[in-house]
Amino acid sequence: MSLWKFFLKIFAISMMTFGGGYTIVPLIREEFAHKEKLIRDDEMLELIALSQTAPGPIAVSTALLTGYKLKGRRGAIVGIVAAILPPLIIISILYYFYTWFAANFWVRAALRGMSGAISAIMVVAVYDLAKASLKEHKVFSAIILIAAFLTSTFTSINTGLIILALALVGIVAFRYVPKEKKP
């Protein structure tokens, strides 16, 4: 994939990333894991884990790391530029009539439908990623998955700290566990 094509893909993805947070994940998977087979789901989970170790918007970090993985440092810079351009352009234009736009009945109606669609897209992505993450060490992985879900849902512990704790649990646990043979 050329740098220019990569730029266009991330630019388009960033245009469609409504709702912030992890909503960029299914789009990155579709473009770079399914259509192009450049990233596997377990690698995708690693990129997201790494993106959580830095502050700032997740979408920007994920775009940067995807670029880094596929195209090295130049890819990382292209990824970050392509990720910030759409919101920059759109808000600059909307700045002049934002009160009308944000309160508009039809805009809000379209958004309500879109948020339903995005919930559905996220559900399928979560199912696929959970399946990919449970391939090895099933019981351990399932416990970790559920624990992370509950911690994030029912406590206000910072995501960065959860990531750090997860990393430590893995390092300590697998010191004493023999490596599973790959089938």
Binding site: M15, E30, L45, L88, I90, I91, A120
Partner: protein, 187 residues
């Protein structure tokens, strides 16, 4: 001078914005509303609502909006770049270790737990996206029929592997049709 202040303010927002999404709002409010007085609380609420109806992370939308307010388009660019600069520098450094051909056993072990853990975090965020959009009110429980219809239709098509981009537009279309129905039944 204004540009420098804009840059430093959003550098701070970018550097301390952990957690993503709405977690960043108190930070933006403290820096932009209370310290620099670039927005009033009401305008801050406007930025949040415009952020809901436009793509892109809330921190970047706020950066562009405040940048435009303070110094026009150059201000918007400076504020946006400042917001992402801390994470760009950090991830560049992490990337040097992470994207090596051969990773140490310790890093591999960390990822054994991080992979399912991150899947759990994304699941949690999906649940909160659903709750934030699907409920018109929680007591009494009233769900938004329009959100539920879009969710059901897109879920079926997505399980059959329809592409995401058209599905997002389909969601918007269902929203507009539902809006039209509401509009006609109310008048």
């Amino acid at each position: 001078m204004t540009m420098l202040r804009l840059f430093i303010a959003f550098l701070e927002v970018g550097a301390f914005a952990f957690g993503g999404g709405y977690a960043v709002l108190p930070l933006i409010e403290r820096v932009i509303v209370h310290r620099y007085g670039w927005l009033t609380i009401t305008e801050m609420t406007d930025v949040v609502s415009i952020s809901q109806v436009t793509p892109g992370p809330i921190a970047l939308n706020a950066a562009t909006f405040v940048g435009m307010r303070v110094a026009g388009i150059p201000g918007a660019v400076i504020a946006s770049v400042a917001t992402v600069l801390p994470q760009a520098i950090l991830l560049f450094l992490f990337g040097i270790f992470f994207f090596r051909e051969k990773r140490s056993a310790t890093i591999e072990h960390a990822f054994m737990s991080l992979r399912p853990g991150v899947a759990g975090l994304i699941a949690a965020s999906t649940v909160s996206i659903f709750i934030a959009s699907a409920f018109l009110s929680t007591s009494p429980v009233v769900m938004d029929p329009l959100v539920l219809v879009a969710l059901a239709v897109v879920l079926i098509l997505r399980i059959r592997r329809a592409n995401i981009f058209p599905l997002v537009f389909l969601g918007a279309g269902i929203g507009l049709i539902g809006g039209l129905v509401e509009y006609l039944t109310q008048t």
